[in-house]
């Protein structure tokens, strides 16, 4: 079984976000970019499925600017086999990406698509669900555990208030939550080897997909700043303020 892992290049989550002065968006020039942390977890899980003998090949796909190939190389260095870049400078939305991924699935015929539950830039949490819908496949979202059996994936999902276990008919789309696994670091020799792995460069038109945005982002602003607070000198004073000034306890 082949496993397809979509990965996204995002602003490094440890970097402070700067909103552009003209409110047209977030300033990403000269910013450190990285693989979306949830995608890293998906890559790790796919490689583990291969190590356990459940997967024969792990194929990475990323849709985004030309530099997204660095993100694919990162995943190849972790242990994935090859990559597909869908180069686009357009701001892609989950629906457009899901349509691109559907086309990739039709070409690659994977038994499983493993991807992050959300990208930490736009925080949409949609692409996996949309891909599953377009394919008519089962979906396992926010998974913290996966066991692949014959034709079935038994998954545990993180839901509000606890955990839920489902059996999914394969092929399926799975989206990863934080608890699923701890992504490995790529070793230097593997980073070198990754440079030789195959990476196909394509464009949305090659897949026959229209990725014109449906939403118009009118402006992006800084969140309101919090007013400066006060220092209290004792626990008694803290409790007094919370009770009588803030009235929250």
């Amino acid at each position: 079984m082949k496993v397809l892992v979509p990965v996204k290049r995002v602003l490094d989550p440890y970097v402070k976000v700067r909103v552009k002065k003209d409110n047209s968006g977030v300033d990403l020039s000269n910013s450190k970019m990285a693989m979306n942390p949830f995608c890293e977890i998906a890559v790790e899980q796919a490689i583990r499925l291969k190590e356990q003998g459940h997967a024969s090949e792990v194929v990475l796909v990323s849709a985004g600017p030309q530099q997204a190939q660095e993100t694919i190389r990162t995943g190849l260095a972790m242990g994935a086999d090859r990559g597909i870049l869908i180069e686009s400078d357009e701001a892609l939305e989950p629906l457009g990406v899901a349509k691109l991924l559907k086309a990739v699935v039709e070409q690659e015929d994977p038994g499983l698509v493993l991807m992050g539950k959300q990208a930490v830039d736009n925080d949409n949490n949609q692409t996996g669900q949309m891909l599953a819908a377009l394919l008519g496949w089962s979906q396992g979202t926010f998974i913290s555990e996966v066991n692949v059996q014959d034709g079935t994936a038994r998954i545990t999902r993180e839901i509000d208030g606890g955990l839920e276990t489902l059996d999914l008919k394969m092929p399926a789309v799975l989206t990863t939550d934080l608890r699923l696994c701890e992504p490995r670091y790529a070793s230097l020799p593997n980073i070198m080897k990754a440079k030789k792995k195959k990476l196909d460069k394509t464009a949305p038109a090659d897949w026959g997909v229209d990725v014109t945005p449906r939403l118009d982002v009118q402006k992006v602003e800084e969140p309101p700043a919090r007013e400066a607070g006060v220092k209290v000198s004792s626990v008694q004073e803290l409790v007094d303020k919370l009770r009588n000034e803030a009235k929250v306890i």
């Binding site: 819908a133 926010f142 208030g161 608890r179």
Partner: protein
């Protein structure tokens, strides 16, 4: 203009997130608001929903295929009914996110996720980059599919209404997934994402055992317990307690940060709290830049003292 609100519920009553979603939907000043309640043996939920003022019809889809809200069975139902409306509003809960993304793709619509403000009929405000930026987004032609952040709107009172309840057919089982079991947290504490008070510990707490200090204070206040990523990575607490950019985003009335330095990834998950209190021995800690009330003190002295003080206040 018409709105269909997709209800999330536990089989007995609407979730607080659904009540907030109803409030957000009312801000559209639509001519008609209907509610779709889907599940199995959930007429009580439909009856509760019918109490909401300003709602015309509550559609009840009751069937075994909907018992566990499996996305594969729910999404066609939501897409079929939703397509008849100008807007579909759903709570951004784990069920809402799971089902609505799938339904929107069936409708060929790009949803607007996790809104925190309604600006106009097709324009909404939503946080991006874990709340470090706020985007104003206008949805294009067709049905607007929206998920609503529960902490951003007051819950609807569910009073003063008298909507008709109309049964609609439940879809057949798609045969793509099946429910095996669930394990719900047995804690008596409120759920982290919707708690009114959250007490969180960080690396400064030092060990998993020491977290009992935090838990005891939380229990005294009827609060949920949270943790920073540092505390989770150090193994003090499980991952699902994590508040922050890659964990849960909370906005309680009161957030008490104990032994948390206040790295940007953590602030992203809690800085919309109404009041923030911080206890930290390092007076230079960045958490003090967002805290309404800061106490520079050793947490191992301050937290037990806080526990005692709460006893005094309550008695």
């Amino acid at each position: 203009m018409s709105v269909l609100v997709i209800a999330d519920h536990d089989g007995q009553q609407l979730t607080t997130g659904t009540r907030a979603t109803l409030t957000a939907a009312k801000e559209l000043n639509a001519d008609r608001i209907d509610i779709l309640v889907a599940g199995h043996d959930c007429r009580a939920v439909a009856e509760q929903a019918a109490q909401a003022a300003g709602v015309t019809t509550v559609f009840l889809a009751d069937g075994e295929s909907l018992a566990h809200k499996l996305a594969e069975n729910m999404a066609p139902l939501v897409a079929e009914h939703g397509a008849k409306y100008d807007h579909v509003f759903a709570p951004a809960s784990s069920t809402g996110k799971n089902v609505v993304g799938r339904a929107a793709a069936l409708m060929d619509v790009q949803p607007v996720a996790d809104i925190t403000g309604v600006i106009g009929a097709d324009t909404f405000r939503r946080p991006i980059y874990a709340g470090n930026a706020i985007a104003t987004v206008q949805a294009g032609a067709g049905t607007k599919v929206i998920t609503v952040r529960g902490t951003a709107f007051e819950g609807d009172a569910l009073e003063g209404g008298g909507a008709a309840i109309e049964e609609v057919a439940a879809p057949g089982d798609q045969g793509l997934s099946s429910f095996v079991g669930q394990e719900l947290s047995q804690s008596d504490r409120p759920e982290l994402a919707s708690a009114r008070i959250v007490v969180s510990g960080g690396r400064g707490v030092g060990s998993g055992e020491n977290f009992q200090l935090i838990e005891r204070v939380a229990d005294k206040m009827g609060a949920a317990v949270g943790a920073s990523r540092a505390a989770v990575d150090a193994g003090f607490m499980p991952n699902d307690y994590q508040v922050g950019q890659t964990g849960k985003v909370v906005a309680p009335d009161l957030y008490i940060a104990v032994g948390i330095s206040g790295a940007i990834q953590h602030l992203a998950g809690m800085k919309d709290s109404k009041y923030i209190a911080a206890i930290n021995k390092d007076e230079e800690a960045p958490i003090f830049s967002v805290a309404d009330y800061g106490l520079v003190a050793d947490l191992f002295e301050a937290v037990p003292e806080l526990e005692k003080e709460l006893d005094n206040v309550q008695s």
